[in-house]
């Protein structure tokens, strides 16, 4: 049964859900969008981050604090992974880059199996005052966990946008995405810059992993659920656009929520790829791509 109030609620929850989608996609926006690395292990790294958050939670860490603490560790992990990928695949040309896709699938598989071996197949959750409680606002009850995801997505988007536009290294990362040979001619080392950027993408994934386990329980194979959605958000946004990623996440979240409310939940998964097809048909470079 349709009502204006229900539609408003659908939009409100769509915004929250969309911000969550943006938060889990923004790392991929850097690694795949800017660096052109076929990083299909991005959701698996996020799930790994979620499990690390769970582990720190057993020592009394708040999930958000755990996510922040994990960021530098994951940054170093990302630097190492990119170096290995570069030496083994990217350096050897385009064909080797395609084989890199298999490399990242392999990483995702190793993470999944490793998590099963260490934690088992049971779902894991974390406890925090903002999980399982809600905020009453104008008669609506909004889960705090989604409000947290909303806040984290905004902070990440703002921080990365400022970093990529105002700092030397950030601009160098954007430059390497646009014209790598030109950057090399300027005397900069594109590999080290990409390594740094991949580290940032992986560090951000740690915080996104914390969001993942705040929003819902995680299990080792959860990454499979997010591969399609995260790539959809990044491509919809226009590769490499941070504000675009937030906007694409919002569009996806609101569209899913409205479709779910008005037409039924079975249609919701079709929204992401339906939107992607339409946008790519009209604007092949994505909504915010140049």
């Amino acid at each position: 049964m349709f009502s204006f109030e229900l539609l408003l609620e659908a939009i409100l929850f769509g915004v929250l859900l969309g911000c969550f989608y943006a938060a889990v996609s923004i790392g991929l926006s850097v690694s795949f969008g800017l660096l052109d690395v076929p990083h299909v292990a991005h959701p698996a790294i996020m799930v790994f981050g979620a499990y690390c958050t769970y582990l720190l939670g057993t020592y009394g860490f708040d999930p958000i604090v755990a996510g922040i603490v994990l960021m530098p560790v994951f940054f170093l992990l990302g630097v190492g992974v990119y170096r290995f990928y570069y030496e083994s695949f990217e350096k050897r040309g385009t064909e080797a880059g395609v084989r890199g896709l298999a490399f990242f699938f392999g990483i995702a598989f190793i993470i999944e199996v490793g998590l099963i071996l260490v934690f088992g197949v049971d779902q894991r959750m974390v406890q925090a005052p903002y999980i399982g409680t809600s905020l009453s606002l104008f008669g609506y009850r909004i889960p705090y966990r989604l409000v947290v995801a909303f806040g984290v997505a905004l902070v990440l988007t703002a921080a990365l946008t400022v970093y990529f536009s105002k700092t030397f290294l950030g601009r160098a990362i954007k430059a390497v995405a646009q014209d790598e040979p030109a950057l090399r001619l300027m005397g900069a080392n594109p590999v080290r810059i990409k390594q740094w950027a991949f580290g940032i993408a992986t560090g951000v994934s740690a915080l996104a992993g914390a969001m993942l386990i705040i929003v819902g329980p995680v299990e080792p194979a959860l990454d499979r659920l997010y591969i399609g959605r995260t790539f959809c958000v990044v491509v919809l946004a226009g590769l490499g656009s941070m504000t675009g990623t937030l906007a694409a996440g919002l569009i996806l979240g609101i569209a899913e929520s409205i479709v779910l409310t008005l037409f039924g939940a079975s249609w919701a998964p079709a929204v992401a790829f339906g939107l992607l097809l339409i946008v790519l048909g009209i604007r092949p470079q994505g909504l915010f791509g140049r």
Binding site: L6, G120, V121, T261, A265
Partner: protein, 412 residues
């Protein structure tokens, strides 16, 4: 008799004798796939442990027909696309003698045509109505239900006793939940309940807040949820955060996962008030079940699987007991002979005596509907207390009356 005639005869006799010995020493192979990863992995691993315990027990007694039992189990990752290939391998490469179905409806459904075509005995494993259309005469399910009514009648009947006039359905868009939902909708219609919300959701759903809000807006008296473990957790959380409204008298019914200890422990007090199906809860007495659960608890701690194991493990051990009883009684591994025996005889198991109906489901279903009461956070051991599961249905096991409305039962 000349020597050149005696020697080949003696050699042939010796060869025959040794081949007979070799055959007698060959193990009885029992094969299956089990979800050990994916959404049913947690339950699957616990169930697998129970089956391994039965294999150890039966081998300690000398095996089946004097042969050791060899158990072969592959991980199907809760992926129905993998099970037909696994069962073909079990039959054609591993050459198993007997088959057990994987845990769950979704992984089992795709292998039904294969076992029907090859006319094989298949011991079912907590699937729901997978044989309804296939009508295989060598199918025997270990789950304590038969048709959709046997599952939903207790829940809907409890709602009717509370004076419910309307119902909302929330069901996962896959085989198990849809089979259950279709039957429950028919039953609700017969009971004169008005359906005010009817939603199927895809298995990829991340958040259920929107659906819970829509249910609250529809103001139903009963909310019948048919979900898989990951979804069940997300639904309980969303209900806890948003609330389903004061109109709801009864919530739950067919939520898979709320029987698994890690999930019960994690959700803790959020479970209070939910009325949900169970296969067994503490307080229900069957000969041998308590002793089995004590042994299981020790093994589960070592294997890091469901520490309590109320839901699947006893019923999986029962599969082994049924195979053992049938093979011992008939002294045969012939599938037709075994199926005839299981169909005609009462099977004695740790989950009580089982008699099968013509469709290979329990002739006398025993689906328990129990309400979570007084559950606190972060305490596994509390679930050994029968007071945490107040049995509302069936009457033979009833330990109390339902507390309604739902918000009151939750203590909110």
């Amino acid at each position: 008799m000349k020597l050149h005639r005696v020697i080949p005869t003696a050699l042939a006799a010796a060869a025959l004798l040794f081949s007979g010995v070799a055959a007698a020493q060959q193990p009885v192979k029992i094969g299956m796939s089990m979800p050990q990863t994916g959404s049913l992995g947690a339950g699957g691993k616990a169930a697998l442990l129970a089956l391994q315990m039965w294999v150890e027990d039966v081998n300690a007694k000398g095996g089946l027909l004097g042969r050791k039992v060899e158990f072969i189990a592959y991980d199907d990752q809760t992926n129905p696309a993998l099970t037909p290939g696994i069962y073909t391998k079990l039959l054609d490469v591993d050459k198993v003698d007997l088959l057990i179905a994987p845990y769950g409806t979704v992984p089992t459904a795709p292998i039904m045509p294969l076992v029907k075509q090859r006319d094989l005995l298949l011991m079912g494993n907590f699937s729901f109505q997978v044989n309804r259309t296939v009508q295989h005469d060598k199918w025997f399910n270990n789950a304590p239900w038969n048709n959709a009514e046997s599952w939903s009648a207790g829940f809907i009947g409890t709602g009717q006793k509370l004076g419910a006039k309307s119902i909302a359905f929330l069901a996962a868009d896959q085989e198990f939940a849809q089979n259950l939902a279709n039957g429950a909708r028919e039953l609700a219609k017969k009971a004169g309940l008005q359906t005010v919300y009817n939603q199927n959701y895809p298995p990829t759903t991340v958040d259920f807040s929107t659906m819970i809000r829509a249910i609250r807006a529809a103001k139903p008296d009963i909310v019948f949820v048919m979900s898989y473990p990951n979804d069940s957790v997300a639904i309980v959380r969303a209900v806890n955060e948003i609330g389903v409204g004061d109109s709801v008298k009864l919530f739950g019914g067919g939520m898979v996962g709320l029987q698994f200890t890690p999930i019960m422990e994690s959700l803790g007090s959020s479970l209070n008030g939910i009325v949900n199906y169970n296969s067994w809860v503490p307080g229900i007495q069957y000969p041998g079940i308590e002793e089995f659960l004590k042994r299981y608890a020790k093994r589960a701690a070592e294997a890091k699987v469901d520490p309590l194991g109320f839901y699947l493990p006893p019923f999986n051990y029962a599969i082994g007991q049924m195979i053992e009883q049938a093979v011992t009684a008939t002294k045969s591994l012939d599938h037709k002979v075994l199926a005839d025996y299981i169909r005609k005889n009462e099977m004695k198991t740790i989950v009580g005596p089982i008699r099968y109906g013509p469709d290979g489901e329990w002739a006398n279903p025993r689906v328990v509907q129990a309400q979570f009461r007084g559950v606190v956070d972060k305490n596994v051991e509390q679930f050994r207390d029968p007071k945490k599961f107040v049995v509302l249905y069936p009457d033979t096991f009833k330990t109390g009356d339902v507390i309604a409305p739902f918000e009151k039962a939750r203590g909110k």
